[in-house]
């Protein structure tokens, strides 16, 4: 039976919401519990299956159609209160008329006077008033990373749906901060191995958790692709991590890591800084939504 706490951690890992402490706790549980590992693999497989549907291209002419329509549909005019609350004019006039009638009735019948007991309401309303946004609240991104985001390499990543989505994974970005792993991913043998259609099946090998070892290289003596992966110390160490293997298991991710776009990115001296920048992740997330 999977405990609710573990399920919450696994779902959090899937949705990239875990803190560093929670990630460490999950890693510890995964290293100790085959059942937890099985559940993690199940969830990862499900996410891969759902996302295999991928994004759909908007129908051609949608923008033109919308713009043609809006030219015949004027915007509803609104009166805006000082604190940014917008109210339809018709509603406003209706409320004003209703308030006038109520006031007239209360004034006519009032005993005690109508103002009694309204102080608390006014006080509550004043407490509920939100302060205006001040200049200090406006956070602009880290400008030192803006240059990186203007490069052709970043533009190419943005145009590759799979690569862009994959790089949204915080743990992958953390893994790629290793220069050794980035170097491994530029090697031809590893890039060829990542394109092997049978790779996903082979990643189920529990022994990959052992990491870099002579035994693993020996085990895959007859499989050039797997031998290339386990014989590279940095890549073999990355394969020890369940999250890394789960990512490679997702539809198209391994091939995206071996793509020419990724190769150009890996050779870009700005990539390391970009991977460490929250602006990079924010732009990836924003463009996934916007594409």
């Amino acid at each position: 039976m999977i405990r609710p706490e573990l399920e919450a951690l696994l779902q959090g890992a899937l949705d990239n919401t875990l803190t560093a402490e929670e990630r460490a706790e999950l890693a510890r549980i995964l290293s100790e519990s085959p059942e937890a590992r099985e559940r993690a693999a199940e969830l990862s497989a499900l996410a891969g299956l759902i996302e295999s549907l991928g994004p759909a291209d908007a129908p051609s002419g949608l923008v033109d159609h919308v713009l043609a329509q809006v030219s015949h549909h004027p915007q509803v005019r609104h009166v805006t209160f000082q604190r940014g609350v917008a109210v339809n004019k018709k509603i406003l006039f209706g409320l004003a008329a209703a308030a006038a009638i109520v006031l007239a009735v209360i004034t006519y019948n009032s005993n005690p006077p109508a103002t009694v007991g309204t102080e608390a309401t006014i006080g509550a309303a004043q407490r509920a008033q939100a302060p205006q946004i001040a200049a200090g609240d406006v956070k602009l991104g880290d400008t030192s990373t803006q240059d990186i985001l203007q490069t052709e390499t970043f533009d190419a990543i943005m145009k590759d749906d799979t690569l862009r989505t994959m790089l949204l994974d915080a743990e992958l970005r953390a893994s790629l901060q290793s220069a050794d792993l980035r170097g491994a991913l530029t090697e031809d043998a590893i890039r060829i191995a990542l394109r092997d259609p049978s790779l996903r099946k082979k990643l189920a090998d529990e022994n990959l958790r052992q990491g870099y070892s002579a035994e693993m290289a020996k085990k895959y003596a007859d499989d050039a692709n797997m031998r290339a992966l386990v014989s590279n110390r940095a890549f073999a160490e990355a394969l020890r991590r369940d999250n890394f293997r789960a990512l490679l298991n997702r539809q198209g991710y391994a091939a995206a890591l071996a793509s020419d776009t990724m190769l150009r990115a890996l050779r870009d001296p700005g990539l390391d800084a970009a991977l460490r920048s929250p602006d990079f992740a924010a732009r990836l997330a924003r463009d996934v939504r916007a594409k």
Binding site: L46, L49, L53, L62, R77, A130, R289
Partner: protein, 190 residues
């Protein structure tokens, strides 16, 4: 709680202001920016390309008409998602149960591979449509729009805790439908 603007949202806000000032081309830029993800969300919500196109277009037109009610302390796309989801739910209510699903898969493999892939996509689409609208909405916004728990909560005006709980239940149900997971009891918001 006071909200904070990030640089990525400021572009949208500028376009909204220009649209309100009568520059329809600015609204065109917003439609261009969001048409793909909005259409994808509609398609996964409805499973039908024609309905998805109608819902996406109607959502943008309603957004334009109501642009003056947009509260700039929220994210524009969260507001758009809310309008779009409501459009999709209205289409769902009007839909005949035997309306066909659309296969939006692109070919490229052998005919046999394409047929297998199309069948698998049909299964996934059908499984999504078997979810209740509440569960389907959070799955679609999370997996196809890349929205965080907080963004989904903002778009649907529900607590983050409810987003998490619906995602858990929805995934569990999808796992049962697609991967044969063992049933873990009746789904309900925790």
């Amino acid at each position: 709680m006071r909200r904070v603007y990030f640089s990525s949202d400021s572009d949208d806000l500028a376009l909204v202001r220009q649209s309100l000032a009568g520059q329809t081309e600015a609204f065109g830029a917003l439609v261009t920016r969001y048409q793909r993800v909005m259409y994808t969300v509609a398609l996964r919500m409805l499973g039908n390309a024609e309905d998805a196109q109608d819902a996406t277009q109607d959502a943008f037109i309603k957004a334009y008409q109501r642009l003056a009610t947009f509260d700039p302390s929220y994210r524009f796309y969260s507001w758009m998602y809310r309008i779009l989801v409501n459009e999709c739910l209205n289409v769902n209510r009007d839909r005949r149960p035997d309306d066909p699903l659309d296969d939006d898969a692109a070919g490229g493999g052998t005919p046999f591979d394409d047929a297998l892939a199309a069948e698998r996509r049909d299964q996934i689409n059908m499984a999504l449509l078997q979810l209740s609208p509440e569960y389907r909405t959070v799955v679609v916004l999370r997996h196809f729009a890349g929205q965080s728990y907080g963004e989904i909560a903002e778009a649907l005006a529900i607590p983050e805790k409810t987003v998490k709980s619906r995602l858990y239940s929805a995934r569990q149900r999808l796992g049962e439908l697609l991967l044969g997971w063992r049933e873990r009891g009746k789904d309900e918001d925790r």
